[in-house]
Symmetry: C2
Subunit: 308 residues, 2 copies
Amino acid sequence: MQIDSARVKNYLAGLQESIVAGLEALDGKPFIRDAWQKPAGETLGGSGIGRMLEEGQLFERAGVGFSHVTGERMPGSATAHRPELAGRGFEAMGVSLVLHPRNPYCPTVHMNVRMFVARKEGAADVWWFGGGMDLTPYYGFEKDAVRWHGACKDALDAHGAAWFPKYKKWCDDYFYLKHRKEPRGIGGVFFDDLCIADTADGFEQSFAIMRSVGDAFLPAYRDIIERRRSMEYGEAQRDWQCYRRGRYVEFNLVFDRGTLFGLQSGGRTESILMSLPPLVKWRYDYQPEAGSPEAQLLSDFLIHKDWV
Amino acid sequence: MQIDSARVKNYLAGLQESIVAGLEALDGKPFIRDAWQKPAGETLGGSGIGRMLEEGQLFERAGVGFSHVTGERMPGSATAHRPELAGRGFEAMGVSLVLHPRNPYCPTVHMNVRMFVARKEGAADVWWFGGGMDLTPYYGFEKDAVRWHGACKDALDAHGAAWFPKYKKWCDDYFYLKHRKEPRGIGGVFFDDLCIADTADGFEQSFAIMRSVGDAFLPAYRDIIERRRSMEYGEAQRDWQCYRRGRYVEFNLVFDRGTLFGLQSGGRTESILMSLPPLVKWRYDYQPEAGSPEAQLLSDFLIHKDWV
């Protein structure tokens, strides 16, 4: 079938708006808006809208990006496991966000929803959805982990019981720092290559799953933030947060496929690297004190666990 | 020919000691010493000595590592451009350092010297030297750039006039952030695959070139530090330094072959990531004020230029 991407684009543009409105209400400071365009070309052309907040009341750095790009030729990295698509043109669109609150008791979060279409004249479009959301706390709270995973489960269970376990495991597997033998955070869901069937009905079902994930993000994250944002913290907590943020940088720059694809294919560096934290520390061979809340994050939360 | 690596190892171990002694004299605080061992295996076994200083008088974070590793099978990344070596065993040894001073007027510096031997029973060893040193200032000083490049040139000119221009350009090409279209710093020299001839004489000449680079580091860097360490600075300079350090992180985690090889092959993460700065900031689309010393760093120093 041929994909009319306008509906998906409308959903994504609206999702960006509603999430930013929700986050502005939480923070109190407006996000800036930075629209960009790149002329079409072999690798990547298109446009996007970045919404950013730095030095807010709640968020130290936050970015919510929408982008819609096209290219005349699928990049090598995207066809490595789908060689039949090499040489096709493509269209990709998505919303991607990373939020870094200042209060170390408030978790960092990432959410992304996207659609990819590979096109060739005279042939049917090849299309799929992808996305996910995952949470990276600096201090562990069981209630938050249950709320987060519960939101992920509810979003997917509406489409059948098989999705959540599969996408939860995919998230655990993907957001893993091999060189540290550590999960990035407490996980959530992650999916790619979602094309239930190449029919109108299969498209609708797949699109609906992506929407459920996108729509689940704000209420769940808002609940967690409202629960944690008034907790008092000091230098020690802030120090731990900045140290742990180093792991976020390591994951995004060494492992994250989206980041590396973007940087290597001539994407917009400042938009891509909005995922990096505002203030980060590295320290040699640091180990938190046994039994401390910092040690408990590692032992009780940064593990692969069924929270719901 | 068969390589007796003991002489090279002795030189490298001695170089680490003498550099650390020199840096301790500069800082006033002793480096800690962390010896490590990994059992031999298919990918990587060996031992090393890390010498580290954090929160010193001069250095906010500094690491000088010596390592000596062996493996039964050359890693894929090392045989990509030398397929004839696939399947050989190997021995690699080197000294590698990265120093991050606290004062933003003192530049960050990197130096590395190393030897690699690929072995197969019944066949001649294949060996080469590599290394280099490059400087990353936060504020540009022509006098420092001339001192640094002069030291590199003097070290190599002792072996013939052709080396310095070649290795200076290699450094410019290697330490380049493609996604930023920016050099990492003001350069220096970089070399790899140095095997003048597979003879006793060729080995001696190659080894001597590596030693010249290793020996040139301390006097040149010390001169620059002594010139800058008493300069007063404030929050603005410190802020700029932390922002620019983000580029160092981006280079090392996205592009640096040694870092990625180490992380992917099961190297010792905390040793490898001693190159990362202690405190780093990211900020959206930041541009220094036109005509400021910060802008001059970009326009007048972070360019490819013949300083001597």
